[in-house]
Amino acid sequence: MSAAALGVDAGSTTCKAVAVDGAGRVLARRVEPASPRVEEQVERLVAALRAEAGAGPEVPLGATGYGRKRIRAGRTLTEITCHARGAFSLARRPGLLVDVGGQDTKIIRVGPSGEVLDFAMNDKCAAGTGRFLEVILGRLQIPMGEVAAHAAGPAAPVPVSSTCTVFAESEVISLVANGAPLEGIVKGLHRALASRVAALARGASAGGLDVLMSGGVALNGAMVEALREALGRPVAVVPEPQLVGALGAALSVLPGAPAA
């Protein structure tokens, strides 16, 4: 099956690109840490995808993410619209989408056709985003891939402040220096982040909606669990959660896509 559209999500932390078929199924994907030279990186990723998926220059490209304005694309849309479309195409039902990315946390109320009904985002401060975990886990020298294992033990969570990433970092250093168990600190970090996200979700939630999670942070099982606890509701993670924005961008250039 050949590709019908390509989508790029040039995010703050990673750059994602996908190729989809006419039904919106992902045929090929690329994920890389974000480069400051957005145009070069996107050009390279898109060329690789076109080659892999057999997509000629006539196959359209949709773009989203922080770097979207610097990408030569057939269509450029915000991350909010793209995440809603991408997640809806995977889940096929309306709900509350929680997207925790590198520096943005988005809470999007998705309507019955995948449209955005309402949204809320963190403002001015990245203490409720993936960056919070990235900075502090980096300080604790715990690789992202091993986080879930560190949070799985029986240790009780150690309370950590979520007000500011920089202050939380120094707080964690003091906790370690005072002999607090690493497992407890890691649990406390997840709990702190989840409480920020849940507070934001309450602002946009009409209540009773299914909660879907996307974004790179959804790959961290401990975070999904902490969010479920904080919201008091089940949280379903969409398949390939990191690619949802790029998928939404690709869907927006498929023939028959909505006008926005």
């Binding site: 991350e79 619209t81 809320a120 985002m121 403002d123 001015k124 602002g203 909505p258 006008a259 926005a260």
Partner: protein, 440 residues
């Protein structure tokens, strides 16, 4: 005597001079389109009255340079019943309006730094920081501000003004008259009205002493009538935007509000609004819009973001979104409805007690609902203003109610009315663009 003559001359000579200057400028080079790029602009043709507005406000600030020692000078909060001061011959200066001017010119960070250096917290209202910073440094885009003989403060807009004006009084060593307006739940009870009226009488006594004049009841009645009529005329200007397309943008209104704030109760103010109203009505008659193509109509709540008015309005206008009404500009049209020249003190006291910021949340919701319906809007942007807590509190609930009851799309936009350090263009762009994408 000489100073007085110089003051009068400054007030009368500037407008004709500026008008002649503009005439020469126009003859020398043709006026460009509103964006400076001719046909590419999403905005309709500029308002002719805008030139007159510039003249009026320039003349006001220019005359202020010569006010000291010529006439009594009062620094006044936007919500103070200025009707009491005009018949006593005061030249009034509005630090809030001046701070907005500083905001438009992007002077606030430097002025605020000066205030912060003096120990004022960054969490204070950016108008207060700008004003104190301007006082400390002497910096102002108006050239020079006259020092006050009197400070006049009314707490109907917030409590910050109380401490701000006390700080001014301590620094300047001049009398402060304070009018405390109890918060209104529903309708102000008679004992609140009596309490406010008693304070107005005390304020008049102080203002008389400073001005060395007695308040003439006939002149007071006339000023109150002018203020009432001015408020009605401003309301008539705003109402023209119920037409489709609206003949101007809500953001035009943010600039044309200046006379009703700073020159309320003067014939110059009313003459200006008659001119503006007639031009707007003529545009409605000819189908000329504030935007070339008006596709969606929006409501704006709270103060403008003075340093980004152009940025925000251009972003929205490019996609055909127009703010056809704002709760902020509307507030100045409502003030006049309670004013009665035959009961100046009593009615003015009631009018200033019932301003939007001194009333409860159900009143705010009613106002927004009424505006949304009468202007036929499809969405609303609620500016959550870091510097104006009384205006911003309750907006999460207002958002939910407007969405649920009227089916509006509503965006809560975090910013500050005067301090660009609390603003991120990129983040605002993403939120506003996502908001607009949802309308398709």
């Amino acid at each position: 005597m000489l100073r007085r003559a110089r003051y009068e001359l400054a007030g009368r000579a500037v407008s004709p001079f500026l008008s002649r200057l503009e005439g020469w400028r126009r003859r020398l080079r043709p006026r460009p389109g509103r964006s400076g790029r001719g046909g590419a602009s999403p905005f309709g043709p500029p308002l002719e009255a805008a030139r007159k507005l510039k003249e009026l406000m320039t003349a006001h600030y220019f005359q202020g340079r010569f006010a000291e020692g010529a006439v009594p000078v009062a620094w006044v909060t936007s919500g103070f019943p200025v009707e009491l001061l005009r018949p006593l011959g005061y030249h009034t200066l509005y630090p809030e309006n001046h701070a907005a001017l500083c905001g438009v010119r992007r002077l606030v960070p430097a002025l605020s730094d000066a205030a912060e250096h003096e120990g004022y917290a960054r969490d204070l209202c950016s108008y207060a920081r700008t004003d104190l910073g301007s006082l400390l440094t002497g910096e102002t885009p108006a050239g020079r501000l006259p020092r006050p003989d009197l400070l006049a403060c009314c707490t109907n807009i917030c409590q910050t003004v109380l401490y701000w004006y006390r700080a001014l009084a301590a620094r300047l060593g001049v009398p402060l008259v304070l009018v405390d307006t109890p918060y209104v739940y529903g309708e102000a009870p008679p004992h609140h009205a009596a309490y406010v009226r008693a304070q107005l009488e005390e304020a008049v006594a102080v203002a008389e002493r400073v001005a060395r004049r007695r308040l003439d009841p006939a002149a007071l009645r006339e000023t109150v009538r002018l203020a009432r009529d001015g408020s009605r005329l401003w309301g008539e200007c705003l109402e023209t935007a119920t037409a489709r397309p609206a003949p101007w943008t809500g953001f035009d209104g943010f600039f044309h509000i200046a006379p009703i704030v700073t020159l309320r109760g003067t014939e110059a103010c009313n003459a200006y609004y008659r001119l503006l109203r007639d031009e707007l009505r003529e545009r409605v008659r000819r189908g000329v819009g504030g935007l070339r193509e008006e596709r969606h109509r929006l409501l704006w709540d709270n103060l403008p973001i003075w340093f980004a008015v152009r940025e925000v309005s251009s972003l929205l206008a490019a996609r055909g979104f127009n703010f056809v009404c704002t709760s902020y500009t509307n507030a100045w049209a409502e003030a006049g409805s309670r004013v009665d020249p035959d009961d100046p003190l009593g009615s003015v006291g009631l009018a200033y007690t019932h301003v939007i910021l001194n009333q409860d949340l159900p009143h705010r919701l009613d106002t927004l609902r009424r505006l949304a319906r009468s202007y036929g809007v499809d969405g609303a942007v609620l500016h959550s203003d870091r510097s104006c807590k009384p205006y911003s509190i309750g907006q999460v609930d207002l958002k939910e109610r407007l969405a649920r009851e009227l089916g509006l799309r509503v965006l809560l936009l975090e910013a500050d009315h005067d301090d660009p350090r609390a603003w991120s263009s990129e983040q605002a762009d993403t939120r506003l663009t996502a908001f607009m994408e949802a309308f398709a």
